[in-house]
Symmetry: C2
Subunit: 648 residues, 2 copies
Amino acid sequence: MSSSLKKAAGGAPRLFERYVPVDHARVSFDAGFWKSWSETVRDVTIPTQHMRLDEEGFLEVLDFDKPAGPLARPIQPSGLSMQHFFDSDFGKWIEAASYTLKNNPNPDVEAKIDAIVEKLEHGQMADGYLNSWFIRREPEKRWTNLRDLHEMYSMGHLLEGAVAYFQATGKRRFLDVMIRAVDHIIDTFGAEPGKLRGYDAHEEIELALVKLYRVTGDPRHLKLATYFVDERGRMPSYYDEEARRRGEDPADYVYKTYAYSQAHTPVREQTQVVGHAVRAMYLFSAMADLAYENDDPTLKSACDKLFDNLTGRQLYVTGGLGPSASNEGFTREFDLPNETAYAETCAAVALGFWSHRMAQIDLDGKFTDALETVLFNGALSGISRDGEHYFYENVLESHGQNRRWKWHYCPCCPTNIARFITSLGQYFYSAKADEVAVHLYGANTAELDVAGRFLRLKQDTAYPWEGDVRLSVGLSVPASLTFRLRIPGWCRTARISVNGQEIDFSASVERGYAAITREWKDGDEIRLSFDMPVDRLYAHPAVGEDAHRVAFKRGPVVYCVEETDIGTEPQRLRIARDAALEPRFDAGLLGGAVVLEGEALEADAGDWNGTLYRSAPPSLKPKAFKAIPYHLWANRAEGAMQVWLTEK
Amino acid sequence: MSSSLKKAAGGAPRLFERYVPVDHARVSFDAGFWKSWSETVRDVTIPTQHMRLDEEGFLEVLDFDKPAGPLARPIQPSGLSMQHFFDSDFGKWIEAASYTLKNNPNPDVEAKIDAIVEKLEHGQMADGYLNSWFIRREPEKRWTNLRDLHEMYSMGHLLEGAVAYFQATGKRRFLDVMIRAVDHIIDTFGAEPGKLRGYDAHEEIELALVKLYRVTGDPRHLKLATYFVDERGRMPSYYDEEARRRGEDPADYVYKTYAYSQAHTPVREQTQVVGHAVRAMYLFSAMADLAYENDDPTLKSACDKLFDNLTGRQLYVTGGLGPSASNEGFTREFDLPNETAYAETCAAVALGFWSHRMAQIDLDGKFTDALETVLFNGALSGISRDGEHYFYENVLESHGQNRRWKWHYCPCCPTNIARFITSLGQYFYSAKADEVAVHLYGANTAELDVAGRFLRLKQDTAYPWEGDVRLSVGLSVPASLTFRLRIPGWCRTARISVNGQEIDFSASVERGYAAITREWKDGDEIRLSFDMPVDRLYAHPAVGEDAHRVAFKRGPVVYCVEETDIGTEPQRLRIARDAALEPRFDAGLLGGAVVLEGEALEADAGDWNGTLYRSAPPSLKPKAFKAIPYHLWANRAEGAMQVWLTEK
């Protein structure tokens, strides 16, 4: 079955650009930065995650024929036996695993997925309803609390898993189970008389439905997604009505405001990013999808305002987002505390999803800059170099208390970073008519269909450690194509040559992408050279936590200082404004990485004599200084870490 | 009944100094700084607190004959109908109110206290047990969970209330109720065979028992306090044993470590202040009391180590303590975040209790410095200038989200700051043989008995706004006495004159107190003059949050900048190291206070054009600057506040 997306691409004129991302399975990381990360996730992360899901009891929830008592091994630390949304976790694991299957068939993984699918099919209710908690524990309460209990969120993740598994293997069984579940939702929810006018407080089903629509071409699937997004935030709130039906006072809602779920006001009227960060990113991803599919400029314009609000006022320099643990999300603008940063891995991954979608309808480098920022920093920091330890919170400063864990009672992040990396290829290239957009740099080999031709692209590069990229063109017959090459937002000096001839591309740069149109033939070679000095970054004065502080970034990679490298807490360092910082490739550092070295000053604690406050500022002494990529922190000895360093 | 303390003072030689604080009722604040605070607390705070306790249902818990259903008005925001430790709240209110009664008899307040006492007496179980929760709801569960349920903590506060009410009015009824309750505890707990070897996880009963002992002279009361302190932290833990008796796994303890309650190791082996801050301060207060009463050098030495650890590594510049909300207490050393500071009002008040007790056994200015710091800063900030709004957390930085509240579902702080202020007189002077120690400065008139003589002391001073104090001596017959006059730790230049004659006192200064011994006669006058420039304070380099920041203190008063005074968030200010700061008395500011004025720089947000990060640091423009005493913040318009200001 070909996707409806491809069929629609040649249709009537559309409001937006409609780039089509290359399929992830057609991009191979056979060398360079992403090679070992991809292999680690495929060979370590995917199998160990299944092992954890199994041993921690997450799969046990699918034993529909057993009494739904406590799990054999209750989830710690809450003593929790089961959560309403456990289905989402193996849904995401199936999705992540599926992305590896096309190029690396794995009967063992397939068997594990099939076993889950069989249990799901067995447990699914006759009318299509599917949620392991409610079916086993309180079927009479299904659909009575969309505000808190995540039924559609869970189904959405199963649906994404089913689509990915179908695309990887051609097996329909899981997809059919989920289509029946979606049919049930269509029968139950909608603006039509007799249906419940509800929508899930944790967004996810919306973007999953667009994925389904792109596979089935069934307009009812797109219509349901559209309904959920349009209905959101309509007043009086469905959640009030629903709470009253449960005999509860809506005023007792624990999060106090539906802004927690971006349901305080219709989505097209939202201008500030609020509430739970992952929910927000999933919603905005769906809004971008629907702008794309429905040619809806009002959704695009809402997304634009929200994106500018996020990146201009609420985004960590690492691409982390959502500073607060209490709502797992946003607080006030410019509130970006470092040590207590929540900055959930899932939220950074989902910002990648949203940014990528935005770039398909509006080829603007600001979107791919955000994608690249999360990719090399705030999302990648969520997984350890060994591929089996994780962060939920991605703080920008620590005194050593933040350690990676093997598993979590709410393990949403591990499978999210896994599916991001196993599907990474799709983020590199998009095509439209006779155009190819190159969004990301990094060694890979890709196959594309453009303007009816088969195009092979190969990037040779040490990116992100170096800014030189050789892009080789493979074509069986010559073709007239436009390459739109992203000039990264962090780059102040770029050079491009074609077949050894430097070209002046500056006039062709439009919103961060340089355009080169010509008749291309097999063996042509584009060389891109992005100057990659160490950047010193300062935060807007309203970010009180970063006052008098500097962050280091080189290319797309944000740096941090770890105690283990300098033998003292980085909080004691003072960096002179003119301090020289030398980048050096350290092959021995966790698989190889560029580190920054130089001279700092250290605030001396030796002359404080037991006092905590005094009238003389600390004295300073020279101190050798080393910074490593932020995404590599907490992979070695325990200790303090700091991204925003104090300036002298 | 005279206190056993006075009787014992002339006994056998003791290890420690044993100063006796002057009774609070013998110190009158008839002018100056504390006059209006005392009057506000007596005339506004005490009556409104009773009103809140009544209207919020706290007193309803004493209706022992009614079924123990939900309260008429459940406590918000938890929907809680009743807590196990509500008795402590009216216990503390009775104590606070009682301190006002001796000099200001008030039949209405007495009637309200008598009404509570009557209900308590009526509800008390035949064996003496007294706790409204357990008696009404689950009497069979009494004494089954000392780790979590605060039974002795609540009884301790009732006991302190009973002692204070007896001392104020001579009425024995409440005291007798509580003596019966203590008899019951003595029958139930102890090291003797057949008794439970338990102790309450929330300390309080220990210091209350010493107060009771000082009234009754009954050695069993002192012995019980001693048992509780000696037993604490003995392994294997009583809390493990008790949890198993309840059928629970001790490993499921929500706070994970008994360090939360200072019960992880015997108290004499503790060297770092850990866990819940109020609990720690109440324990250490009891340890100081028992060192005093039992001549126990091991407890004194433990207190010394803990005091130095607290003040050298864990105390906010305001005297606030316990940075973390999650355990209402301590984390790691030097962890002093400003915006998320918990720094509970109760903890600062209780540090006042402890410091004061330490000074009675060891006349060292470091103890009275700490007392004075909390008094003018981190404790006083817990109550509004109007006397009926409160802070639980006393942050050192805010973006305007911290507002004072009228009442709280856990209203421990309001009554704590109330009892601190209504008994404030006791902290000013102590006597021992022919010595008088003057600990605090501030306009007052006091009556003391020293060396068998009646001594009247009067301080005329605008302290803390000015550093000049005139101390007038009133004596019916001349007396040879030593005055030990505290030279505040913040003071670098002090002058003292007697009857107009400047004296050289430097050789007499011992640990922060200058000694003047002579034959004093009626009308003698000591003048103290403490230079009071504006101090710039810097924090130890290990306090990362305060790097590159400066705090202003003048005399004992810590300053802050409020947005309402400068029209911008103080987080945007940069203070030049040589910026001149002029103190000025502002009679219109909340009853009159010295403010600091000068020129700062403001980080300019005007040229950031929607970017959040950039490679150029913020530009700076001049900005008039004003700071007010920290204890006065959040009494006017909503807005941001900062104690630690960024230096240029």
